[in-house]
Structure formats: structure tokens, C-alpha cells
């Protein structure tokens, strides 16, 4: 059997595939953060909680309203994104002129409130959300058994990432957005409603988190604390990729998923820390991040 650094090729390929699946997740979440930070300069610490709200909305929607997975995938981002727009309109906007630190504190506080409230009602053990019937079972890839649902996550997350990148970098709406954040007074003089654009952008970033939450619901137990552990990793990904870089967030997310996956084979004890080691290295060598523009 062919070996790679003492690990059979089949095992190596399997871990690479899983790393890619997790990486797609990181990419999707860090993309939302990067959009919000890059365009609005808000350090959104509520992102993990918004992801968790997405998973909860899917769970509760199914339990009480009978909304199925496919409908949830479409509806939940709209609902949670709408909720995000309310947050922006009534809370974040009031402190937009202050230092970034205030936005960070506000969103962090809100995240704690969301989490605490749900812990109070649902506990932390989590609940199961069953995999939709069409995606049950698995694919035999020869070197591993890959559950169909994970393959779907990879495809769906990557498709959403590409869609977002296209929207922001290649469309007129995206151009307005980028221009509006660059020089909002000038844009307003041209008759563009910049405050509305900002609200919509924040809502969109939140909707991305909620979309990731719905994707995650059948994979992990749906619990109020599911977002907080992920958030730190996702922030590290954004820092490595370069704060605000859309493409950077996507590529770094995938890369970090793979690096983490391989660490789980060679030295599992370090799998929770390896991303932060990479972050330290990147900050030392390229402070603006791998894809960031030097200020």
C-alpha cells in the first residue's frame, strides 16, 4: 500500500476530503464576516450566534410549523437576515461613527444574550435535526465512505461562496456597495440610498451565517453553544486571509480546513490550536493577511 508520511494513501485521501468539507464550512462563515467587515467595518462578534440562530430556526420551524429542510434552506436565511437588518438599523447604526471596538462589544454582548436565552429554554445537550431523506446514505469513494450529506454541504457551501463573490465583485449592485463604503457622501450625492445599502449588506452577511447554520443542523447536535466555539476559528481564518478580502476568506477557509484535517491524523492533540499557529505565523510575516492589501 502506498504511504504518505507513514499514513496509508486511502486514509490520507479520506482526511483530505473531510478537511475540504470542513473547510467549505469555514469558508462560508468567514465569508459572511469578511463581507460585513470589508464593506461595513463592523467586527461582527454575533456571527457565531447568528449561525446558531439559523440552525435553531430550522429545528423549531420543523418541529412546530412542519417546514422541511429544503424550504428552511431558503426561508431561514431570509428570516434571520431580516432580524440582522433590525439589529443594524436600531443598534449598530447608532454607534457606526464610533471606534470599531464599540461594534465588537455590542455584537459580542448580543451574542451572549441570544445564547443565554436559548440555554435557559433548551439546555446545552442539543437536539437532533434529521438529515433530509434525499441526502441520507453515503457514497463509496473507493478510499472512504462519504456520507451523502457531507458531499452536499461541500457543494452547497462552495456554490454560495461563488455566488457571493460574483455578486460583490462582478455586478452593478456590488459596485454600488463597494463605492458606498469607500465614499458614502459622494454616493449619496449621486442619489444612492447608502444607509439602506448598509442595512441590506449586514442582513446579507447574517443570512450567510444562517444558511451555514441550516447546513450544519443535520451534522451536529443543534445547541445554543454551537456557534461560540466555531466563531474564534472563523475569526482566525478571516485574519489569515486578510480582513475584508472576499476571495481571501474563501480560499483560506478551504486551506485551513485541510490543514486542520491533516493535523487530526498526525498530531490530534494540536488540532484545535494549529489554525492559531498559522495565524501567528501569518501575522508575523504578512500582517495584512495572505490576501489583504498592505495599508
Amino acid at each position: 500500500m502506498m504511504m504518505i508520511f507513514g499514513v496509508p494513501l486511502a486514509v490520507f485521501m479520506g482526511q483530505l476530503t473531510l478537511g475540504l468539507v470542513n473547510g467549505a464550512f469555514y469558508a462560508l462563515l468567514s465569508l459572511g464576516l469578511a463581507v460585513i467587515f470589508g464593506l461595513l467595518k463592523i467586527v461582527n462578534f454575533a456571527h457565531g450566534a447568528q449561525y446558531m440562530l439559523g440552525a435553531f430556526a430550522a429545528l423549531l420551524g420543523f418541529r412546530y410549523l412542519g417546514i422541511n429542510y429544503w424550504l428552511a434552506l431558503f426561508l431561514v436565511p431570509l428570516v434571520v437576515g431580516g432580524f440582522g437588518m433590525l439589529m443594524e438599523r436600531f443598534l449598530l447604526r447608532r454607534i457606526a461613527h464610533l471606534d470599531h471596538l464599540y461594534g465588537l462589544l455590542l455584537t459580542f454582548g448580543l451574542a451572549l444574550i441570544f445564547e443565554g436565552t436559548l440555554v435557559n429554554f433548551f439546555g446545552v445537550s442539543g437536539a437532533r435535526y434529521s438529515t433530509p431523506e434525499a441526502l441520507q446514505g453515503g457514497l463509496n469513494l473507493g478510499f472512504m465512505f462519504l456520507p451523502t450529506y457531507r458531499a452536499w454541504v461541500l457543494v452547497a457551501a462552495l456554490a454560495m461562496c461563488l455566488f457571493t463573490w460574483f455578486m460583490i465583485e462582478r455586478t452593478r449592485l456590488g459596485a454600488y456597495l463597494r463605492a458606498g463604503t469607500e465614499n458614502s457622501q459622494l454616493m449619496q450625492a449621486f442619489g444612492v440610498n447608502v444607509p439602506l445599502l448598509i442595512t441590506l449588506t449586514y442582513g446579507f452577511g447574517v443570512a450567510l451565517a444562517a444558511f451555514a447554520g441550516v447546513l450544519a443542523a443535520p451534522l451536529y447536535p443543534v445547541s445554543p453553544t454551537m456557534g461560540s466555539s466555531l466563531l474564534i476559528v472563523v475569526f482566525a481564518v478571516v485574519v489569515i486571509g486578510g480582513m475584508g478580502s472576499i476571495l481571501g476568506a474563501i480560499l483560506t477557509g478551504l486551506g485551513m480546513g485541510i490543514i486542520e484535517g491533516l493535523t487530526k491524523v498526525y498530531y490530534p492533540e494540536a488540532s484545535n490550536t494549529v489554525i492559531f499557529l498559522v495565524m501567528i505565523l501569518v501575522l508575523m510575516l504578512r500582517p495584512a493577511g495572505l490576501f489583504g492589501k498592505e495599508a
Partner: protein, 407 residues
């Protein structure tokens, strides 16, 4: 004026006399109050197995006792240790220094318990550990200032691992939580598996907590072991079992052995993915009339059935209060000795007694998770298969490394 003065003097004299009377009557209870601190994970991974429900159990014990011991009221303080040994140790230091807390109960994450019992030993306090699993708490980390109540890793290994090996599961792969508790469980399981003729062919120590187990499950599948043992707890176990079922671990001929599974874990996972799982437990709410009766009272307060830890918190608090009543003092050393003198026989513990190393030994049970067809209700989850007698369940004193045991 004179009248006023006289009345004043008289009332002061009466007040002084009565306060003296009180202090003589309760000279033995410090501050005329029995102060209990409840320390547990109130918001994280281990919240549901003890957490606020454990505090309710403790409050039930105090209320059932009558709210006071020998005329001195009982007061409960509580704090969230956030599964951090530093936070736990600092909280207990403050409780002892500034609030004269007499006993610290709850105590869930093993790393927190080990740190807290060191503080209790330095300050001559008393602790009752109910939630922790590491058997090292009454082995190399034993102190004269604490008691370990509900269960530990030794009977978990001895019950579950032994039963699994006897059924033919003789090659094991262990997924271990990388901290004190996981290491203790890993060591105990390895001993039991090898002593019964089995073999541990490999294992992984994963960070605590871990949300994605897919990589580890894949490695476990590749190991070829018949049994994949989960030497972790709480959300980690729940995640590992969920992932294992997604990757078809059991369909490919391997079996899972959960070494520490709580009622709330099985409830969260559902019977579909846990049916048939063997586990060792210190207590189960539906095991007999006495247990059911208490659990139904608890259910009315909390809205969930109690775990063995929550029941153990009630049982240990009750025993502590009875010991104070019998000894007439809340002095830690005297109460600890009094507690050890009295046998423990209540809805929770059968054949219970406290050994010199601080281990409360009692009957343990080998249980199996019911199938969805067998279960008649939301909380009808276990079937008790057999009883492991108290004197066989725990590590024998002859193997103890505890400094309090003469070997």
C-alpha cells in the same frame, strides 16, 4: 427621661442576654449558619448533567431537611466555574476567606474538582464531589477534606468495558478527551480490557471540547478494532455518536461503547441512534419506587428527569446535614468523620459507605439503552441489566495510592 433610659438599658440587656443565649446554644455551628457553596458548570458543555438542576436538587434537600440544622439556618451560594480550574479554585478561595463557606458541593469537571480540593485541603474546608468522573480524585489526588459521591471512572470501566469484552468485543480503539478525566478513564479501561483478555489496538486523544469528530471516526474505522470506546463525556460523546452513525460505523461491523453516558445525552441523541448501547450508571430515576417518587418531585420543579449526578447532589447534601445534626457542629473534620460513621441508604445509594480515601462506595448498575419500541415515554430510556455490588464496583483499597490509606 429616666423612664426612657431605663427602658433603653433594659432592652439592651435583654438583647445582649438573648444574643448570648443564641451563641451558647449554637456555639458549635460557625457564624450560626450552615453555608454551602454550589459550584458547577452552569452554562457550558456539562450544564445539563448537573448545572442549575443540581442546584435545585440541593435546594430540595435543604428544604426537606427543614431549612435549618439544630436551629441554625442553611444558606446556599452558587457560582459558575465555566469548566475552568482557575475560576473554580479562586471562587472557592473567596467563599472560604470572605463568606466562611462550610461545604462546597456540585463539582463537575474533574480538572476543576482536583484544583478545588487542593484549596479545601490548604484551608481545612470540606468538599463533596458529585459530578466528576476521574478516579484519581480519591486516588493520587485524595485529601482528608473531600468525599467523592456518585461514580468514577473505575466502575465505568469495570462495568461497561468488562461486559463488552465478555460479549466478544476484545479489540478496542479509544477516543479520549485530552484532559485529566479522559486520561483516567483511558487508563482504567485499558486495564480492564487487558485484564479480561482483550487488547487496545489504538487510540486518539482529541482536544476538549471537539465539535467535528468525522476525522477521528474515520481513523477508528481504519483501525479494524471491533469496539470503538468513547472515553469522553457530555457534548463530545453526543457529537462522536452522531458522527459515527453518519459514517455507518456500526453497519461496517464495529460497535460503539460509550463509557460515560448521562441520561441527558441519551435523551438528546434519541433512541434511534443509541439503542442497545451498554452503559454503567450510579443510579437511574426509574429503577424503583423510591427513586421514581423523588424523581417525580424533581420533575415538577425542573421539567426534566434527573441525572445520577443531580440525584447524588440531593443525597450527599442530605447526608451532610444529617451528620452536622448528629455531631452538633459544622467543623469540617468532625463532620467528615461523622459522615463516614453513618451508612448511606436512601433513594439514591444502596449499601453506601464512605471509605478512608474519601470514596463513597455504593451499588452501581449495568444498563442498556432501550429500543424505540420498548420505550413507553420520553424519559423511559434505560433497562437495568445487573447490579455491581458496592464492594466490587470501585478500586479496592489494596491498590490505592491515596496518602490516607495505609498500604
Amino acid at each position: 427621661m429616666t423612664f426612657m433610659k431605663k427602658t433603653l438599658t433594659a432592652s439592651i440587656a435583654v438583647a445582649a442576654a438573648s444574643s448570648m443565649a443564641i451563641s451558647t446554644a449554637h456555639a458549635e455551628i460557625s457564624d450560626n449558619e450552615v453555608r454551602i457553596g454550589y459550584l458547577a458548570d452552569m452554562s457550558g458543555t456539562y450544564r445539563d448533567l448537573a448545572g442549575p438542576g443540581g442546584q435545585t436538587a440541593m435546594e430540595m434537600a435543604v428544604a426537606d431537611f427543614g431549612g435549618s440544622v439544630n436551629g441554625s439556618p442553611i444558606v446556599i451560594f452558587s457560582a459558575d466555574d465555566r469548566n475552568s480550574a482557575d475560576v473554580g479554585a479562586n471562587t472557592v478561595r473567596e467563599w472560604i476567606d470572605q463568606r466562611n463557606v462550610d461545604m462546597v458541593g456540585g463539582l463537575v469537571a474533574s480538572s476543576v474538582s482536583i484544583a478545588v480540593t487542593k484549596v479545601l485541603e490548604e484551608n481545612n474546608g470540606l468538599g463533596i464531589v458529585s459530578g466528576s468522573a476521574a478516579s484519581s480524585i480519591t486516588n493520587e489526588h485524595c485529601t482528608p477534606n473531600h468525599i467523592h459521591w456518585v461514580y468514577d471512572t473505575y466502575p465505568l470501566a469495570n462495568g461497561t468495558a468488562k461486559a463488552v469484552v465478555e460479549q466478544g468485543g476484545d479489540s478496542w480503539f479509544l477516543l479520549t478527551a485530552d484532559y485529566a478525566f479522559g486520561h483516567a478513564l483511558e487508563a482504567d479501561v485499558t486495564n480492564v480490557v487487558e485484564a479480561n483478555g482483550g487488547e487496545v489496538v489504538g487510540g486518539i486523544r482529541h482536544p476538549f471540547p471537539t465539535s467535528d469528530f468525522s476525522s477521528y471516526i474515520l481513523q477508528a474505522q481504519g483501525s479494524g478494532a471491533k469496539i470503538v470506546g468513547l472515553a469522553n463525556a457530555g457534548a463530545d460523546t453526543v457529537n462522536a455518536i452522531t458522527t459515527a452513525s453518519q459514517f455507518g460505523l456500526t453497519q461496517s461491523g464495529q460497535q460503539l461503547a460509550g463509557l460515560l453516558i448521562f441520561l441527558n445525552d441519551v435523551h438528546a441523541l434519541g433512541l434511534e441512534s443509541t439503542q442497545g448501547l451498554l452503559l454503567t450508571t450510579g443510579w437511574y430515576w426509574d429503577m424503583d419506587e423510591q427513586s421514581r417518587e423523588w424523581s417525580e418531585r424533581y420533575f415538577e420543579e425542573v421539567g426534566r428527569m434527573p441525572t445520577m449526578v443531580q440525584a447524588g447532589i440531593y443525597s450527599s447534601t442530605m447526608h451532610y446535614l444529617k451528620a452536622i445534626e448528629a455531631a452538633g457542629t459544622d467543623d469540617p473534620e468532625v463532620v467528615r468523620a461523622q459522615m463516614a460513621d453513618m451508612p448511606i441508604e436512601d433513594f439514591f445509594a444502596r449499601n453506601g459507605s464512605i471509605r478512608e480515601d474519601g470514596r463513597m462506595i455504593h451499588d452501581m448498575y449495568l444498563a442498556q439503552v432501550k429500543t424505540p419500541e420498548e420505550s413507553t415515554g420520553e424519559w423511559d430510556l434505560y433497562e437495568i441489566l445487573s447490579t455491581i455490588p458496592a464492594d466490587e464496583a470501585y478500586r479496592p483499597l489494596s491498590e490505592s495510592q491515596c496518602k490516607l490509606v495505609q498500604n
